[in-house]
Amino acid sequence: MSYQFNEFHWANDIKAGQYLQPATLAEALDMLASFGGKARVIAGGTDLVPSLRQRHLEVEALVDVSRLPGMDGIARQGEVVSLGGGVTHAQAASSPVVAEAAGLLAAGAGSVGSPQIRNVGTLAGNLIAGQPAADTSLPLLALDAWVTIASPQGQREEPLNGFFLGKGRTKLDPGREIMTGIHFKALGQGRGGSYQRLAKRKAMTLPMLVAAVVAGVDPGRKVFTGAAIALGPVAPTPLRAAQAEALLAGAPVSAESVAAAVEKASEESSPRDSCLRGSCDYRREMVKVFVRRGLADALAQAGCPLD
């Protein structure tokens, strides 16, 4: 009996007829357009290469945007922090600007994959992959981040809330458009955040659950001015627990308010039963634990801890 080497999916290697390296954004968009959707943007490639290898995706050309000018910066202007479309997880995890403005994002970026993955994988790629448990998508969603997208029609902005359409699908067309920036308002006085992650190991593993939480408070009156709770993987897309958030808006900062929101967030979650990531029932219970911890942590950071 002969042994079929080709049975291993990794014996199929990636196929792309051309590897293009545009020097400018305009050139990159033209290149994409010339393939009519059959080319694909590549930045780090840590998501794209495995999906090409497993034939989840077939392309005629790869357009490498990682060396386009202005893609790798992290800057803060007033309240707004902007990350270029080529910023890697390692950059975000170690950036003092990100650590100060959004510790939850630094924590999420530091949880992605392994050091080797973080050195090349990008935050923009994590968003575009549209996976429900993405370690940087969830904190960005909780931060009410928005992204800039370059397309043949020009530049536009999209809020992340509403950006995710379904598993692996977003409002960005990865065969025609390029994410050039990610922006969010810095946390600070009266606004705190937290990143809570449940996983079986400390590295090289997708999370069983992530709760990324931002709480806004009026410390004088001890009321919530707003809250954002992003959860995954509890639905086909990264989820904002909108009903739980609505319960908190204007509510007093108290154990009762938090308990009500925690119950609601658990009701809004519908994780799948998974032999790797735990049963639906278990993870719904864990949503309560992690949202409670996340809110407590975010409140403490906002200068208005729960008593």
Binding site: W10, D13, I14, K15, A16, G17, Q18, Y19, Q21, I42, G45, T46, V49, P50, R53, A61, L62, D64, S66, A90, G113, S114, P115, Q116, I117, N119, V120, K202, A203, M204
Partner: protein
């Protein structure tokens, strides 16, 4: 297929090679350039056996299109020993501590450890474990590998 000619610095020497547009760096290194010290365990970014240093930072060469090496510097395990064969302190320490069994993970372990020690010459144990967290070893149980990295960090004063 439109092949591309790329130039990069490989283990300190400039190389010019022609690569397929969709070749991965690991295959260019192993098959075209004959440097088989870089291993392939999974081809999925999970095991870290294929780790090389790109501009000094560890990356999985099984996920990296070869074209991305253009204009940059790549270090593989073959680039660690001196020209006269003197081993790198990490290689010495791995030998001394018996930190390799089958040896398949060793190039990845040593390259990740090198990137760590280059940036942080005297790391804590937690930092060592963190730096090695992207490489799987199916033989040793990791204890001796961590000990070897510690030994190497102490041998550099």
């Amino acid at each position: 297929m439109s092949n591309l000619e790329i130039t990069f610095v490989l283990n300190g020497e400039r190389v010019k090679v022609v690569t397929a547009p969709d070749a991965l760096l690991v295959d260019l290194l192993r098959d075209t350039l004959g440097l088989t010290g870089t291993k392939v365990g999974c081809r999925e970014g999970e095991c870290g056996a294929c780790t090389v240093l790109l501009d000094g930072k560890p990356v999985n060469s099984c996920l990296l299109p070869a074209v991305k090496a253009a204009g940059r510097s790549v270090t593989t395990i073959e680039g660690l020993a001196a020209a006269d064969g003197t081993l790198h302190p990490l290689q010495e320490a791995f030998t001394e501590e018996g930190a390799a069994q089958c040896g398949f993970c060793t190039p990845g372990m040593i390259l990740n450890a090198k990137a760590l020690l280059d940036a942080n010459p005297h790391p804590q144990e937690g930092e060592i474990r963190q730096a090695l967290s992207g490489v799987l070893c199916r033989c040793t149980g990791y204890g001796k590998i961590v000990a070897a990295v510690k030994t190497a960090s102490q041998s550099r004063k």
